[in-house]
Amino acid sequence: MKTVFELTKGILPEETTYCPGCTHGIAHRLVMEALDEEGLLGKAIGVAPIGCSILAHRYMNVDMCESAHGRAPAIATGIRRVQPDKIIFTYQGDGDLASIGTGEIVQAAHRGEKFTTIFINNAIYGMTGGQMAPTSLVGQKTTTSIEGRKKELSGMPIRMAELLATIDGAVFVERVALDTPANVRKAKRAIKKAFLVQQKGLGFSFVEILSTCPTNWGYNPVKSLEWLEENMIPYYPLGNLKTPKEVE
């Protein structure tokens, strides 16, 4: 019998802690496939902070450490100094990276740290049960904005990719989405490029992945993908904001 689909080498056969329809599984797989295809699994070190994906080490078959909320870029900075020839990545959610961890991510980008950040933007705090994130859309109902996010009270959603792209040290910045097979393939290409930028020592690389949170959005998985496409992509445009010419 011909095998048509199997776990990638970088993913461990653990029972998942993620909710049905959550796109963390796809994002995990893409990161591990990208490393595997370049022969980098054995050289990879990951940092996963508080949030649903703090348990990423259950699934990602590379050396990993957990992190306090928002601090992963500082930890990756420390790891990089001791292990200069490794491939280092942080895998961070939006409550983590765009709220409590803005200092760490901006300053790591500013120093041009040679690691890669995978930023999962699902416009909500997932692990704590669906509170408003800095990335929640105006009008989006969450447990801390039950009538919908109000611009007057909470400001406009923050666009981290655009913000980081203004920093010289961030040399590769791209936003992708996991709503369609075509976009999933584009996401993987962006992740591979980000790792290539790191391998070449060009600076900080950043991939923002628009993702779903069916449980806390209150939609089924299919409707969640539609909501992402209809609401998130118009506000968070997909595409590359910055690529160094060495990897173009």
């Binding site: 450490c65 601090r71 420390g78 790891i79 292990q83 200092g103």
Partner: protein, 358 residues
């Protein structure tokens, strides 16, 4: 043996850390310890190490966590409010058992307080400001030489126990100059030797071993309880093995002072002043503040009339002094705060008052 040199405390601490094999330092400017950060920025790269000026103390402690997790020998320093910001990291680092040496060149508080010396971080150091059941191992030098001698030992203990060790100095020790003999340099660990020396470290699997995971999240209560009990075994061992103190002139002492750090040096002079006045005074000088040398108090003779905790705080160590005394002696506090120092005369006068002479 290295020759004797005249050095400022902060620079001597930094050089001693490098000579102890430290190659990674992450710092953020704060007075009165800036000479350490500046020294590391100049010197670490010369010996193949790395210095990063962090964006905050919060980032600095997390960089230290990362570098330690990756197997590096790491040193960080700060002063009181900066140490306050690092507490979250201390809790994580204890939980994940990452070796680290921390230096607090403490100053007066609360809040911004002052840049003058203080000892009001005793609770912060020994009780911890981070969450959960954890302990830093805390040592308090009373001279620059003692601090410098502690440095290689602190790294050794941190690595052996896989737990952070804090050296609690104060602004006085950091800012003054004294003749000092620096420790002999220890070679630094090479990156290629880390996997063997620290098989738990994040070095990449090389696809040749199961992945290493450094974690502090245990969602299953039974697992977390087992983990905490495991860590506690280490803390119980530390209580047996790491206690250090100096007992001075306890025999026939009418009054016994308890003092640590630079305050202990001033107190020694007060003992001399009292001797001139015909009063026999002794001192317990805790060198390890956690674990605390409670057993030293058993050496105080029952004829002693009073025990005085001498501190630059409104009474923090006095809690441990009372535990040590077990109600055998009246315990009182002799203190100045806010960056003010005690003079030997003030301490001697306080003892006379407590004893009811003059």
């Amino acid at each position: 043996m290295s020759e004797k040199v005249l050095m400022k405390g902060n620079e001597a601490f930094a050089e001693a850390a490098i000579r102890s094999g430290c190659r990674y330092y992450f710092g953020y400017p704060i007075t009165p310890q800036n000479e350490i950060t500046e020294y590391m920025s100049r010197e670490l790269e010369k010996v193949g190490g790395s210095f990063v000026q962090a964006e905050s103390e919060v980032a600095a402690i997390n960089m230290a966590y990362g570098a330690g997790a990756a197997g590096g020998k790491v040193f960080i320093s700060s002063s009181s409010p900066g140490i306050a910001l690092m507490q979250e990291g201390f809790s994580f680092i204890c939980s994940t058992e990452i070796p680290l040496v921390i230096l607090n060149v403490s100053r007066g508080g609360p809040g911004v307080g002052t840049i003058q010396p203080g000892q009001a971080d005793y609770y912060q150091a020994t009780r911890g400001g981070g969450n959960g059941d954890y302990h830093l191992f805390v040592y308090a030098p009373s001279s620059i030489q003692e601090a410098v001698d502690m440095m290689p030992k602190a790294f050794k203990i941190a690595e052996e126990y896989r737990n952070p060790v804090m050296i609690l100095a104060d602004g006085m020790l950091g800012q003054m100059m004294e003749p000092v003999i620096l420790p002999e340099p220890v070679p630094a660990i090479k990156q290629e030797d880390i996997p063997k020396a620290k098989p738990w470290a994040l070095t990449g699997t090389n696809e040749a071993r199961p992945h290493n995971v450094i974690r502090s999240l245990y969602l299953v209560a039974e697992e977390l309880e087992a983990r905490i009990l495991e860590l506690d075994k280490k803390y119980q061992r530390a209580r047996k093995e790491l206690v250090e103190y100096e007992a001075i002139n306890l025999e026939n002492a009418e009054v016994v002072f308890v003092a640590y750090g630079s305050t202990a040096r001033i107190t020694e002079e007060a003992i001399d002043l009292l001797a001139e006045a015909g009063i026999n005074a002794g001192m317990i000088r805790p060198i390890s503040l956690w674990p605390y040398p409670y057993e030293a108090f058993d050496k105080i003779p029952s004829s002693t009339k009073a025990v005085i905790s001498v501190e630059l705080s409104r009474g923090q160590m006095i809690d441990d002094v009372k535990i040590g005394c077990c109600g055998r002696f009246p315990v009182s506090l002799c203190s100045r705060v806010g960056g003010m120092l005690l003079t030997p005369q003030e301490i001697a006068a306080d003892a006379k008052k407590v004893l009811g002479v003059e």
